[in-house]
């Protein structure tokens, strides 16, 4: 992207703590651009590494589009969470995006819940 600034968690991700769960909202509606994906991946793996047995919830409410590169990034984050004996949940995925997870069978790999409340109750 032209004139992109340095990576900054606050630009692409909103992170809030709900008890011991880090809830992460994607700010962008499109997770397509390679540089954005790399930036988001770095920020997420940073959050994972910061704590033993991390609990993360990715809220997709804002996400309208994502690419296979974004899926790869999410798998990488999932692997890191597992290495740290943590738990990752995905929630609020719009039907069109959920279909992408179903086609790629990644709905078998990730724990996907309908709402944020469902996800928070699932740890």
């Amino acid at each position: 992207m032209e004139g992109r600034a340095m990576p900054d968690t606050s630009q692409r991700l909103n992170v809030t703590d709900h008890k011991d769960v880090k809830v992460i909202d994607f700010v962008d509606s499109k997770i397509l651009d390679e540089a954005n994906i790399a930036e988001i991946g770095l920020n997420l793996t940073g959050l994972v590494a910061a704590k033993d047995r991390p609990k993360l919830l990715l809220d997709f409410a804002n996400v309208d589009h994502l690419s296979s590169a974004a899926l790869g990034m999410l798998i990488n984050v999932n692997n890191k969470v597992k290495q740290q004996n943590g738990q990752l949940r995905l929630a609020n995925i719009k039907p069109q995006i959920l279909e992408v997870f179903e086609i790629t069978k990644l709905n078998k790999l990730f724990k996907i819940l309908p709402t944020r409340a469902d996800a928070l109750a699932s740890y």
Binding site: L32, A69, N76
Partner: protein
Amino acid sequence: MSPADGRRASGGKRGGPKLGATGGRSKASVKMTIASDYADAREVQRLIREEVEKAGFDTDTQFAIKLALEEAIINAIKHGNKLNKKKRVHVEWRVTPEVAEIIIEDEGPGFERSSVPDPTHDVNLEKLTGRGILLIESYMSDVEWSKGGRRVRLVKKNPGFARGAKSA
């Protein structure tokens, strides 16, 4: 158009994507040649998406085309041309209310479609890459690989047209 300095072009005459319509009939195809550059790729995708929207494709079909187009162009730039900015990606499209047809050709070594592993297989499920082709083929009505994998033709029919929803 963003990278219009033309310095990296091997031919010397280029300056950003080249656009040209073929023929003067009602619905001719549009051809565009871009460098292996993500900004150029976004621009050509935007042009195609605009035509798809204008042609009256429903939102689900627009989503499908956007997704497949993104994957195919990124494949051409990254895996085909290996991000070599001297190599180009040739894009040709024709969008009617009935069907969108997009051809993308890179200048890379090509690949053998049948040798691409199934990313949905259990042993491949945690691999970080290899899902682009699956998504392209899942979302399009027809996908044809040719020229040793360097060229792909994407076809998406407009389901609304068949139902007579659009009668401009």
